[in-house]
């Protein structure tokens, strides 16, 4: 079963609070000389603090390309973004790979550039158990419980869930840590927090847990030391993806690519990037954006299929 727009709506509703479809402040009608950047967030002011420097930067550097103005459009739901792409009212959208992949699959959008959010180009999810656990593979977790972070989390749920599916390990969702687990299934329960997950693993409430690979280096876990052991790691996933309107003027796309991928080369551009969630730079997808999105679309299908099968 494919992840449909309805599915995507379901995902988006977990990211953003269902709210009124009010579009904040900015003109919504795209024009030849206006470039529009979209965002999903309830806190408009916070988003403006992140994106306005980028808008200004682009506006400044795209004038010679006929762009008089770069605008930020903040939507309150992912559906708004998809609709805006479809109506030609939105030109750029920056978000996680899964969401951008879903929008690109269902709306008038295409992957554009890779964003090194927080200085990271990609990440993976590790699956770990307590050191004294007998489990060495995912299959060893059959009949036991694993804690995911939350359903909306790409590294905390989507990626490991997809990894389990890819490994053909049947899973069943549990509502609590003390709920019984079929012997041939791995029961998963949402902890709603990496630390909680760690706590459950450390205290034996669950047999395994997941976290981003980078989190292993987090200061808070330096005391864990060798008390946990990693038994699996998911394929890497881009940290963040910039999508564009699929039918955007190629010349402008070219101009944008040049400007964006060179931002990190100037102090001015680095400052703008720093404001943009500590992004180190924009660059091209090593294997192309399309390949990334297709892997994600595949993972979505697997997860949906596995869930449909387990449910």
């Amino acid at each position: 079963m494919h992840l449909t727009i309805d599915r995507r709506r379901h995902l988006a509703s977990a990211v953003a609070v269902m709210a009124l479809a009010a579009i904040v402040a900015l003109p919504v009608e795209a024009a030849a000389d206006v470039l529009t950047i979209g965002s999903v967030e309830e806190d408009v002011q916070a988003e403006k603090a992140i994106f306005v420097p980028l808008c200004d930067y682009l506006s400044e550097h795209l004038k010679e390309h006929g762009v008089d103005e770069v605008r930020l459009v903040v939507h309150t739901s992912i559906n708004g973004i998809a609709g805006a792409f479809d109506r030609g009212e939105l030109d750029l959208y920056l978000d996680s790979p899964v969401l951008t992949a879903v929008i690109a699959r269902d709306a008038n959008a295409a992957p554009f550039l890779r964003s090194w959010k927080e200085g990271v180009s990609a990440y993976s999810t590790i699956i770990y158990v307590r050191s004294d656990s007998d489990a060495a593979t995912l299959d060893d977790l059959a009949g036991q419980r694993i804690a995911f972070k939350k359903r909306e989390s790409t590294p905390g749920y989507f990626m490991p869930r997809a990894h389990f599916a890819a490994q053909s390990v049947p899973m069943v969702e549990l509502r609590a840590t003390d709920e019984p687990v079929p012997e041939d299934h791995v029961g998963y329960v949402f902890s709603h927090g990496d630390k909680t997950t760690l706590g459950w693993v450390m205290t034996g409430r669950v047999a395994a847990g997941v976290m981003k690979d980078a989190d292993l280096e987090a200061p808070e876990l330096r005391g864990i030391g060798d008390r946990i052991r990693v038994i699996a790691e998911t394929p890497p996933m881009p940290r963040q993806v910039l999508t564009r309107r699929r039918d955007l003027d190629p010349a402008l796309v070219t101009a944008l690519r040049v400007v964006l991928t060179s931002m990190h080369e100037t102090p001015e551009g680095r400052a703008v990037l720093q404001a943009l969630d500590e992004t180190r730079k924009f660059d091209e997808f090593p294997g192309g954006g399309r390949a990334v999105f297709e892997r994600i679309w595949s993972m979505l299908e697997m997860v949906d299929a596995a869930r449909d099968a387990g449910s």
């Binding site: 630390k195 909680t196 200061p219 808070e220 876990l221």
Partner: protein, 829 residues
């Protein structure tokens, strides 16, 4: 330009100095220091106290707050901890970490592993070693720990009775210290502001106060210079205003009550009495106009003169006399003046605080008169007489002339004075003075030459006369004879006339003395001699009178000693009832046998005892002795005998006479009815009312009273009627010849009739013959005493005498005893 700058600099320097002086001297400094110390001290005390209080309070609050937060967090964390929802724990702790003052908040599990530190980045699942956590878990109660920099609170978390962890919260005290530091700064600032404001207020207050005080100071300085008219109105509404009002009031009173120096000078200069101020050396430092007029010197001429030089040496012989007059009685003296020579003054002196003395010289006639004249007769008094006599003696020495001093003493003056009162006595004295003056005034008659005689009254009934420049002794005799003659004439004293003779003694210069005192003394002795020998006569002084006077003095001395050592004794002369012939009593009669002088006659020593006052002791002793004798006789069976005791006027006048007599009777347990008090008519009437009162008191308890020597005095029936007496004793002078002399017989009969008229018994004294006794019997006399029966006999001889003659009461009357040799000592028998 340079000069101007210098002037400006100098002014500035002086100005700064003045301000500095004002700020560092006097009230400003004191108030400033005190106020600064007060404010700073108060601020410090408040600061320290507030810091301590606030510090303790804040620490307490922080502790409570820490405990409250830890407990709250523990309650919140219970479920999260049980389910190991570390994100939720972290979220709660992160919220807690945002609370001001919270520096650390952690949650540990039951094993003490760190589960959350509120996103502080601490390593999770590492053991937290904290004794407070262990203690809280063990105590199962929240605990708090306080150190210098923080407060740590731990709240254990239990679930189902099991220990599942703990919340530890740490709050920094930095905010508290900051708060305290801020408080200190604020205190210091407030104190500084108040100190500055206080000092400024003090400066303003002092400026105003000093202005008021300066005004008061000016006023006091003026007042010290005697200017009381300048007052100050100060409206400060404080104590200084009250002080100024009081001071103004005081000045007003001073102005009313105090005179200025000029005014005092004016008063001193306008005085009519001479005033001198002398220093400690007796030199004059100030003299008023009256003193200048008195001495005839200018005021400056008197300056620095010695007062001693201005005072006569004969009246004020030495400096000590002047010194003694300071603060004492006025000194009668004479001063040497330029115009009038030596004139009498009353000198009084008083000491001044600075060691000087004021000397007042009074010439007031009234004062002079009081000082030198007798107020009754206006004759010169003793003082003036002595002064005049001194001058006369000096004059006589210089001129080798004679002078005579007459000492005139009236006869029986005391009786007149006592009988008719002092007014009559004074009138008599004035008449005597006039008569003497009249007699002395005729120079030509007396042939006294050009020397005026001086008549003076020394006191009482004593007059003195000094006659100068006598040619012969016979002149003095003639003068005395004239004086006696003049005084023999009756004196008209209003409704009655009085015959008063006089006794005159005469002393001549230089025959009987060359000193004024000697002359007066010898004239007195001569007068006494004349009085003793019959009165109404004049006698020149003779050396043997001096001897007699010495003898009299010797007798007085020995008499006093005899009284002290009981050298006197009492003899008893029997008193006989004429009808029965039995002895009914005895009269106690004094006898004195001196070891050297031999037997001294009562007629000799009793007058001396009376004049010297010893008679009081003697009378009392006789009363006591008589009482003792009564007791002894009663014991011997002679209880019916009475004893008559003579009491003189002086003794009778004593206030305790009655009490003494009663006490004597009581102490001897003697029968009062057997004691008889004999008083002379003269003694009785000297103070008739007092005598009557006392005699009645004695009679009230049974004591008998007899009037002695009746017939020698007034012999007044009226007196006799008033006197409470049982018996009348007729003087021997009326007894001796009454039986053969017609006049005496008439007088005797009259006396007897008077006695019978007032109901008194009659006792005749001095009965010596059978004829006399027979006459008495015929006249109705009741009793007698005298040598016919017996002279006075010794007490131990009374009983033998009575037994021998069988004269005891109720025994047959014997023949009168053969007449014994008359004893020398008796005067009454």
């Amino acid at each position: 330009m340079i000069k101007r700058n210098g002037t400006t600099t100098t002014r500035l320097r002086f100005g700064v100095r003045r301000v500095w002086r004002a700020a560092t001297h006097g009230l400003a400094r004191r108030f400033g220091i005190v106020q600064t110390l007060t404010i700073v001290g108060t601020a410090l005390a408040l600061g320290i106290g507030t810091n301590a209080l606030v510090g303790a309070q804040v620490r307490g609050e922080i502790e409570d707050r820490a405990l409250t937060m830890a407990n709250a967090q523990a309650r919140l964390a219970g479920v999260q901890l049980a389910d190991y929802r570390l994100e939720d724990l972290a979220m709660g702790l992160a919220d807690l970490g945002n609370v001001r003052g919270v520096t650390s908040a952690i949650v540990v599990d039951g094993q003490g592993l760190l589960l959350s530190d509120g996103n502080a980045g601490g390593a999770l699942f590492v053991p937290i070693e904290d004794p407070l956590i262990d203690a809280a878990k063990e105590a199962r109660s929240s605990l708090v720990r306080l150190d210098d920099t923080s407060v740590t609170a731990v709240a254990p978390v239990f679930l189902g009775g099991g220990d599942i962890g703990a919340v530890r919260l740490e709050l920094s005290l930095a905010s508290m210290y900051e708060q305290l530091a801020r408080l200190r700064r604020q205190t210091v600032i407030i104190a500084a502001v108040f100190a500055a404001a206080g000092l400024l207020a003090t400066a303003l207050l002092l400026k105003r106060t000093r202005r008021s005080l300066d005004a008061l100071l000016d006023m006091t300085q003026l007042a010290s210079d005697g200017e009381f008219g300048r007052t100050q109105v100060i409206r400060s509404n404080d104590e200084i205003q009250h002080l100024a009002v009081s001071f103004n009031r005081m000045l007003l009173r001073l102005r009313r009550s105090t005179v200025s120096r000029d005014h005092v000078n004016h008063i001193i200069q306008s005085m009519s009495e001479a005033l001198l101020v002398v220093d400690a050396n007796g030199r004059i430092t100030l003299a008023n106009r009256a003193a200048s007029r008195l001495f005839g010197h200018t005021e400056t001429g008197l300056y620095q003169k010695r007062l001693r030089k201005l005072v006569c040496r004969e009246t004020t012989p030495n400096d000590q006399t002047l010194t003694d007059s300071i603060g004492g009685a006025p000194l009668e003296t004479r001063v040497v003046t330029k115009r009038e020579g030596r004139i009498p003054v009353l000198l009084s002196a008083s000491k001044l605080p600075d060691g000087q003395a004021t000397v007042w010289l009074a010439q007031d006639l009234r004062v002079r008169k009081l000082a030198y004249f007798d107020s009754v007769t206006d004759l010169p008094n003793r003082v003036q007489f002595r002064q005049e006599l001194s001058r006369a003696v000096i004059e006589a020495q210089r001129e080798r002339s004679k002078l005579a001093v007459f000492f005139v003493d009236l006869d029986h003056f005391k009786m007149i004075n006592d009988s008719y009162g002092h007014d009559v006595g004074d009138r008599l004295l004035r008449n005597v003075a006039e008569r003497l003056q009249g007699t002395l005034r005729g120079d030509d008659v007396l042939g006294w030459g050009d020397g005026n005689p001086l008549l003076a009254r020394l006191g009482g009934d004593e007059f003195t006369i000094v006659c100068r420049q006598l040619a012969t002794t016979s002149e003095a005799a003639r003068i005395a004879e004239r004086l006696l003659e003049a005084l023999r004439e009756p004196f008209n004293l209003g409704e009655r006339q009085a015959l008063v003779g006089a006794s005159i003694g005469i002393a001549l210069f230089p025959d009987h003395g060359t000193e004024p005192e000697t002359l007066i003394q010898n004239a007195d002795r001569a007068m006494y001699w004349a009085k003793e020998r019959g009165r109404n006569a004049a006698r020149f002084f003779e050396p043997m009178m001096d001897t007699a006077a010495n003898q009299r003095l010797e007798i007085e001395t020995e008499l006093r000693r005899a009284v002290a050592v009981h050298g006197l004794c009492v003899y008893y002369q029997p008193q006989v009832d004429i009808a029965s012939g039995t002895v009914v009593g005895c009269e106690a009669l004094l006898r004195w046998h001196h070891p050297k002088l031999g037997a001294v006659s009562p007629g000799t020593f009793i007058p001396i005892a009376e004049t010297s006052g010893v008679i009081i002791q003697i009378d009392r002793w006789v009363i006591s002795t008589a009482c003792e004798q009564l007791k002894r006789w009663a014991a011997q069976g002679l209880g019916d005998l009475r004893i008559a005791v003579n009491v003189t006027a002086l003794t009778l006048q004593q206030d305790d006479f009655v009490d003494y007599t009663l006490e004597a009777l009581k102490s001897c347990d003697a029968d009062p009815a057997k004691l008889e008090i004999e008083v002379t008519e003269r003694a009785a009437v000297s103070d008739l009312a007092d005598t009557v009162r006392k005699l009645n008191a004695l009679r009230a308890i049974g004591v008998q009273v007899a009037i002695d020597d009746f017939g020698t005095g007034y012999s007044s029936l009226s007196y006799l009627k008033q006197l409470p007496a049982d018996r009348l004793k007729i003087d021997r002078s009326f007894v001796q010849d009454a039986h053969r002399n017609g006049t005496d017989r008439v007088v005797f009969k009259a006396i007897v009739d008077m006695a019978k008229a007032v109901g008194m018994e009659i006792l005749a004294e001095g009965v010596e013959t059978r004829e006399q006794l027979a006459f008495l019997g015929e006249q109705g006399c009741h009793e007698y005493q005298g040598f016919f029966m017996s002279p006075a006999i010794a007490p131990d001889d009374v009983m033998p005498w009575l037994l021998e003659r069988e004269l005891l009461p109720d025994t047959p009357q014997p023949e009168p005893a053969p007449r014994k040799k008359r004893q020398r000592a008796t005067v009454d028998a």
